[in-house]
Amino acid sequence: MLKVRVIPTLLWKNFGLVKGIGFDSWRRVGPVLPAVKVYNSRDVDELILVDITACQEGHAPDHVSVSDFSEECAVPFTVGGGVTNLEQIVSLLHAGADKISINTAAYTDTTLIETAANRLGAQCVVASIDALRFDDGRYFCYSHSGKVDTGKDPVEWARELAGRGAGEILLTSIDRDGTMLGYDLELVERVAKVVDIPVIASGGAGCYQHMIDVVKKAGASAVAAASIFHFTEQTPACAKAAMQEAGIPVRKNFISPVNQ
């Protein structure tokens, strides 16, 4: 049986990592490389790195830096931000990324996800959706790091992206992002119901119970989180221990034998 994953998300802005609230009010949280090393040494299930300036400034993630980061990453490594074409995807995979997350380009280039999935395999194509909940309960997808309302409904959009061949959906709630108030269970549940590919819930984790809830109540296959790991004492390993106690299949952390 496949394991439910706990994935720290690293947001990369200019030369360091940041974390914001609602895709805004960025706080600097330190340099990238040591963070990758620390998470790697703590035996996390996977890492997601998103260059949040790449899209706004119109450049692809810097594959030279990605290559430095991936060298320190002995777990699956997802890279995103500013990816607009197949060449960039190939160059990031060559730089050591295992999966590429595509968000804005999926709206503008309707063939990119399909082409990438056909050429490189669905397993390396992560379709990222940033969704905002309105007061009337409706949801809309936003592109360009949460700046542009695309008018699309996340449920329909997820179905379409899965149909184009995406291997996973990374689903982020813009309004929960950084609040630590819990994942948007309704959003995740609606999307997870209509696609048969894994949905990674993102945005809002503030305690382990939030992670348990989004898996058990909303059907997420993985939980991504940032603030909880940056700003509290809570860790991915303890999150998994709590999830295991709640009956969720998680990957056991490996204890190194003393004789190494």
Binding site: K3, G121, P198
Partner: protein, 210 residues
């Protein structure tokens, strides 16, 4: 300890190189017969389709030297993912293609094994041992390893099957024929359990060389 990672143009080799360097090996990414002949260990990595992989091994002139190093010199070889699959007699991805035939068996798509779950099989899954093996020293039974694959190696002989995983069916995931090892998962992406497996591979000494 020198490790020759076979370079035949399939997949990113940086993480495999880094994983072996981290455990103290001297690594060469190479397609040079002399480097392969001189290495203590051979690693055949790879991501992609069976038929293209075999074609590229052939184009790079690697078939003879691999045969010499593995069968005649009896060097320990570890095949990873596609590299494991190509150890088989025959594969069916991209058309029926002969493999290296170091371990008798065929490579078939997961749904041909009556796996009903989504393909590719991607993610962390538990590895169950069928027998004791030096490759698993210090790795607890049912440890999780990272998988990305749509095809699986079906060994002809049960004695060559070392470990399996469950994914809608039992999938052979570690195979071994004397000095030839293969793992379907990616040890270089399997964090500490993967690291220990690579350490064990370096520590393994073929009996004929004792």
């Amino acid at each position: 300890m020198t490790v020759a990672i076979i370079n035949y143009g399939m997949g990113n080799l940086a993480s495999v190189r880094k994983a072996f360097e981290d455990i103290g090996a001297e690594v060469q990414i190479t397609s040079d017969p002399n480097a392969i002949r001189d290495a203590n260990r051979i690693v055949l990595p790879g991501v992609g389709a069976f038929c293209e992989g075999m074609e590229r091994l052939g184009d790079a002139g690697l078939l003879d030297i691999l045969h010499e190093a593995v069968i005649k010199q009896r060097k320990p070889l570890l095949g990873i993912c596609l590299g494991m699959q190509m150890l088989a007699s025959q594969g069916f991805e991209g058309g029926r293609t002969n493999g290296l035939d170091f371990i008798p068996g065929t490579v078939q798509r997961l749904d041909a094994l009556s796996c009903t779950l989504r393909i590719p099989h991607v993610g962390w899954n538990e590895v169950k041992y069928r027998c004791e093996d030096a490759l698993f020293d210090g790795i607890p039974e049912s440890s999780d390893f990272y998988f990305v694959h749509s095809y699986a190696f079906i060994p002809e002989c049960n004695d060559h099957l070392i470990a399996t995983t469950s994914y809608g069916c039992e999938i052979p995931v570690v195979i071994r024929n004397e000095n030839v090892f293969g793992c379907q998962f990616h040890p270089e992406k399997s964090s500490k359990a993967g690291r220990q497996l690579l350490i064990n591979f370096l520590r393994y000494i073929p009996t004929s060389l004792c």
